[in-house]
């Protein structure tokens, strides 16, 4: 497991039913591309997060497949529809098999 991985998610606390909200996510990860070399000229092996998903109450919002060309500390901004109160679930899948999770509640007024 990569060190110091910390997911951060920004979701509004409340919304009206059927509203479209903007979600921003960022996870601290070095996203080693596999193309870089260390000071001895050896290749640094690839170590990235290769997939990110966001679900709301079990229904999918977005599913992103990532390649090494995504920057360090992958950031995503996207839009989601909120039909009812519930919980957003965010999942990141690392190359080494680790899974990082975060969740946020939203209340529909």
């Amino acid at each position: 497991m990569a060190k110091g991985v910390k997911p951060r998610v920004k979701v509004p606390k409340t919304a009206a039913a059927g509203d479209v909200i903007t979600i921003k996510t960022l996870i601290s990860h070095k996203m080693e591309s596999g193309n870089r070399k260390d000071s001895d000229g050896n290749k640094i092996p690839r170590s990235i997060i290769n997939r990110f998903t966001c679900d709301f109450n079990g229904e999918n919002v977005i599913d992103i497949t990532m390649e090494p060309a995504i920057s360090t500390n992958p950031f995503f901004e996207f839009k989601a529809k909120v039909p009812e109160s519930g919980e957003f679930k965010f999942t990141w899948y690392d190359d080494d098999g680790s899974v990082y999770e975060a969740s946020k509640e939203i209340a529909v007024s």
């Binding site: 977005i62 390649e67 060309a69 995504i70 920057s71 360090t72 839009k79």
Partner: protein, 139 residues
């Protein structure tokens, strides 16, 4: 045999070239990445918009956003990177809009392409050239 400075240099260059070969062979070309996504279908211009800076000072983090109303998925390609695939955005039933923004690495000045897959099986394309001052792929 006397090992001259010239020999050593030639050897070093040859070894470097050889070590690059397998990498080039393994990395899929832009066309292959597109074909894997579209299945060889025709791609029309438009239907998707790609926003990227004209000049990116730092190739390590280039902000890009894609927007394709009604699309099922969007593929993002950096044609000049060691491996051209960047990301694939698949939109689920609760996606509020078929748009997303992220930050990508670009190895140098190149064309960035976005291809949108529509639910009816058609494809749309947009591209933009980004000038990169400092490349962001190491090596």
């Amino acid at each position: 045999m006397k090992f001259t400075r010239r020999d050593a240099l030639a050897l070093g260059l040859g070894a470097t070239a050889a070590s690059f070969l397998p990498l080039r062979a393994m990395a899929a070309t832009t066309d292959e990445v597109i074909a894997a996504f579209t299945g060889g279908a025709d791609i029309a211009e438009g239907g998707v918009s790609l926003t990227a800076p004209e000049i990116a000072e730092n190739g390590n983090t280039v902000p890009v956003s894609v927007d394709a109303p009604g699309a099922a998925a969007i593929l993002l390609i950096a044609t000049g990177n060691p491996s051209p695939g960047v990301a694939t955005f698949n939109f689920g039933p609760l996606a509020g809009a078929q748009s997303a923004a992220t930050r990508i690495r670009l190895a140098g000045t190149q064309e960035v392409i976005a291809i949108a897959k529509m639910p009816d099986g058609s494809f749309g394309k947009a591209s933009q050239t980004v000038k990169v001052t400092i490349g962001g792929c190491g090596g």
